[in-house]
Amino acid sequence: MKNAIDREIPDEVKGRKLRPFQGNDGYLPEDRFIPATRMRAHSSSFVRQKKKVLSSLKEALVKVGLKDGMTLSFHHHFRGGDNLMNHAFEIIQKMGVKDLTVNASSVQPVHSPLIPLMESKVITNIEGGANGAPGEAISRGKLDGLLTVRSHGGRARAIDSGDSHIDIAIIGAPTADFMGNLNGTNGRYACGPLGYAWPDARMADNVIAVTNELVSFPNYPVSIPMTLVDWVVHTDVPIGDPKGIVSGTTRITKDPMRLKIASTVIDVLDSAGIIKEGLTFQSGAGGISLASSYFLMEEMLKKKIKGSWAMGGSTAALVDMLDRGLFDYLLDVQAFDVTAVNSLRNNPRHIEIGASCYASPFNAACAVNLLDTIVLGATEVDLNFNANTVTESDGRILHGIGGHQDTSSGAELSILAFPLIRGRVSVVVDNVTTVVTPGESIDVVVTERGVAVNPSSKHFDEITNNKRLNIKSMEELKNEALKLTGPRKPIRFKDNIVGVIENRDGTVLDVIYELAD
């Protein structure tokens, strides 16, 4: 069946029924419903005698009854410095368990040791997203089942609603107390918020926290509370590598082309009337997003404008804006650098939030819906403004979605900003390889060779009337790039579907096929 953006979606793949995308807000569950969650009742003497604390993850996995076919969840707050998922699967492989589903807020290149476990069918399905080598392995058919790619908000929705049931949540905690209060702001593996793991802690049948630093009760501040944590594994096996967890300082790009694109973004925001008192703003950690944040800061200082709040992934740039009083609050689900981690620890106006509160479409309110603007990137964008962030132009799965779908559908003005040509490949194409964010969510595309505004954007007139902007159509941008790059060879796929791209509401935007070459 064709979905609302004209992509062919099969009714069923590998035993799973798919619901085609019906447009943003096209699908809502029929009524409010109550998903099943497991009650936990540990006796008072049990807890008082510190029996919640175990010395190895293996012991915990035996206690919770790990068996074939279960779903295990992980968070990616340690990013490139995560050791926990690899450590867990070293143990699991030795236990001889098979056919597991990994539900991770992100699988990273550091998790490449999982690739052989896909081939030996210890891991048969992955939910969340896959970056780098593990993603490429899935493109080459190494995963027996499916990769279900979800945005951060979509993942929270799937877990909260019971669509994605978690048997065992394994939560890396920089610090924990013996009762199970966890936080990510202290300790040598401090990573900032633990927000992506909040839905997992609330909904999983069994919650195992793993820490290298057991602190005295109560572990304050509390990110994930003891009421939700069944077991605390206190181990010497390092759960993370501080070098990979947070980068030192995120420096602003020196590339003149990216700086030009970032300053054009500010021009676009200005002409759409976004830079005003009470502004709300989110920016990513990518070069252009970061530079846009700095230029926005200059513009706000020049105009003597104060925003109301900003949202992370937090970086030194956003913290700087908070400290200068340009925003009253910084809402944060994930920290990217040391400055951001320190700010969360020390500044009461820097507030940790969970993934559902950040971006889930099916709850009573989520923060992305209040954003005035968001600056994002993409690997490809097509003439209908559909954006791809998951596959590269050569068809390989190399990235996740992050908050792309959530923020762009929630924000008043969504901007995609990127160099038109990356490594000889044009970002603007006739049809994206994989639709990840539907064009209806995108207002403006900013490149160094011109700005294209979505005709369906309510800011179309304001922006196209700005004579300082080099306004072009997507068709013009595409042709300009094509003249420089020359035509590319079409990619060939096999019939085997390896991945499903869910919209944040759980409907299917697109499917990904196994690569033929």
Binding site: D394, R424, V425, T485, G486, R488, I491
Partner: protein, 91 residues
């Protein structure tokens, strides 16, 4: 024109291409390494080949390490490399 010495032109910066040319007695060998192999590999090889045949060069080893160069960059680096490799021809 004949390739008489081993030379280099270009860099490994993003958007550039590093061309190394050396003499060969009998054959024309082109080796290309590029991150866009599946999309543009054949086209880049063809651009190099066309440039060489326009100068009637039929022998030599061309090693190209591409970092996403556009056609005009490929041709500019080839021109410089060939000028250097065939230097005596121009004296």
């Amino acid at each position: 024109m004949d390739i008489i010495q081993t030379v280099k032109a270009g860099t490994l910066e993003s958007g550039d291409i590093l061309i190394t040319i050396s003499p060969h007695d009998s054959e024309l060998i082109i080796e290309l390494e590029t991150p866009v192999e599946s999309l543009y590999g054949e086209k880049i090889k063809q651009e190099i080949l066309d440039f060489l045949s326009s100068l009637e060069i039929t022998k030599g080893v061309i090693k190209a390490i591409d970092k996403g160069a556009l056609e005009y960059t490929v041709l500019a680096r080839m021109e410089t490399a060939i000028n250097r490799a065939c230097l005596e021809e121009f004296e």
